[in-house]
Amino acid sequence: MTQHGNRTSQTAVNLTKLLVRVENDHDLLCEIIGIFKEEFPRVLQSLQQSVAREDMKNVEATSHALKGMLSELSVTRAAWIASRLEQLARAREMSRLVYTLKLLEAEVEGLLPELDAYSEEAKS
């Protein structure tokens, strides 16, 4: 995992920051990627359903949870969008919520395969 510095501009994950967070512990990196892969789809789905139901309280809670998970993995842009969703839910701005959710969905589209690649590289 020596070329990661060149990949941050095209990728969702800031791998340089992430490796600092795990203190360059590749086993820990694999472990938290595993946790993320398990939890992220469930939380994202809960957020999508809450937006569809216009359940602002739950949108706020799930977008906060997503923001935390994404921040921990240094998925910076997606974390920022999740933070924006949280603010919009708190402000009850439903009209912009749907659009912002779409932005988030687009941002995280390639995230899981990207994380898989890091995980494989860390194991090798």
Partner: protein, 312 residues
């Protein structure tokens, strides 16, 4: 050192756990506020805590407030960990009882540095508590025998007397004085005299119950206060004290020395509504009788009537 992590985010919790374990901390991790408060309320609970702000059941500020309500515990240093960054949030977090604030995503080096600050504060607090306890002990105990000093034992007697009156119980007061103690000091010196006083104190403590009190009343005088004890038992208990002192010579640097004690004893049930000073005066009179009777004996104070007291 033990540290508690409370965070409902599994990744965050795992990262904190790993970083702190690597730093040598003994980590307990929970995923909600209520469990955090329960952990921090246990005996021997962690005294360092990293608490996430938003958690199910009870949030971080709620945990801080719960911990701060527990006044009779050693201090817990709490760091709130959160992605909230506004000044209002920081103020609200600190006002709830947090000591420090760390924003997510945290940096491992900053996290461990802040915990070291917390440890230094806790160590300082421990030293202050220890110093306060030492001062408290010195202010309340006799420096030679480590028994209660005169002021404290008399206060304890007053407290016990009012309690037993309230509960219609009985307190026994024993005033003991070592016989011919001046001769010990004169013949063997004050170092030996001090050895004798320390050993006598130890023997008295060994012959009373854990909930009775004993103090050094004067030079070689000791005041013993027995709870829930009547005049019949009083004599038996006083004889136990006397025998324990008289039966074995005290080992000193100048060889074994035989010492004896005379005791004046009084049971409060026979002396209702008397002031502490009067009670002590009566115990002293009984002690005087024991001395006059030949020493190394116990005398029970006989109650005087109101008429006696008026005429005297």
């Amino acid at each position: 050192m033990k540290v508690l992590i409370a965070d409902d985010d599994t990744i965050s919790r795992r990262l904190l756990e790993k970083t702190l374990t690597r730093e040598g901390y003994d980590v307990t991790a929970v995923d909600n506020g209520r469990s955090a408060l329960r952990q921090l309320s246990l005996p021997d609970a962690p005294r360092l805590a990293l608490i996430d702000w938003m958690m199910p059941e009870l949030d971080g500020p709620g945990v801080c407030m719960g911990v701060r309500k527990q006044h009779d515990r050693p201090y817990t240093h709490i760091v709130l960990v959160t992605s909230r960054r506004s000044k209002q949030d920081i103020v609200a977090g600190l006002e709830s009882g947090a000591d420090d604030y760390l924003t997510k995503p945290w940096d491992p080096a900053e996290l461990t540095a802040r915990l070291r600050v917390g440890q230094r504060i806790l160590q300082l607090e421990d030293r202050l508590v220890e110093a306060r306890e030492t001062m408290r002990f010195k202010a309340t105990h006799d420096h030679l025998t480590s028994l209660f000093n005169r002021g404290v034992i008399v206060d304890l007697l007053a407290r016990e007397l009012s309690r037993t009156r309230r509960e219609s119980g009985c307190t026994v007061v024993m005033l003991g004085d070592l016989d011919h103690f001046k001769n010990v000091n004169d013949a063997y010196g004050h170092i030996v005299g001090d050895e004798v006083l320390r050993e006598v104190a130890r023997r008295i403590l060994g012959s009373i119950r854990s909930y009775d009190f004993v103090g050094r009343y004067g030079g070689e005088e000791f005041l013993i206060v027995l709870n829930n004890c009547d005049s019949t038992q009083a004599i038996v208990r006083a004889e136990e004290v006397r025998n324990r002192i008289a039966n074995d010579p005290v080992k000193t640097i100048r060889g074994p020395l035989s010492v004896t004690m005379s005791l004046g004893v009084l049971a409060s049930q026979d002396w209702d509504l008397r002031l502490v000073e009067e009670i002590l005066g009566e115990a002293d009179s009984a002690l005087y009788q024991a001395k006059a009777y030949g020493r190394n004996c116990v005398k029970l104070a006989a109650p005087t009537t109101s008429a006696d007291r008026i005429s005297s």
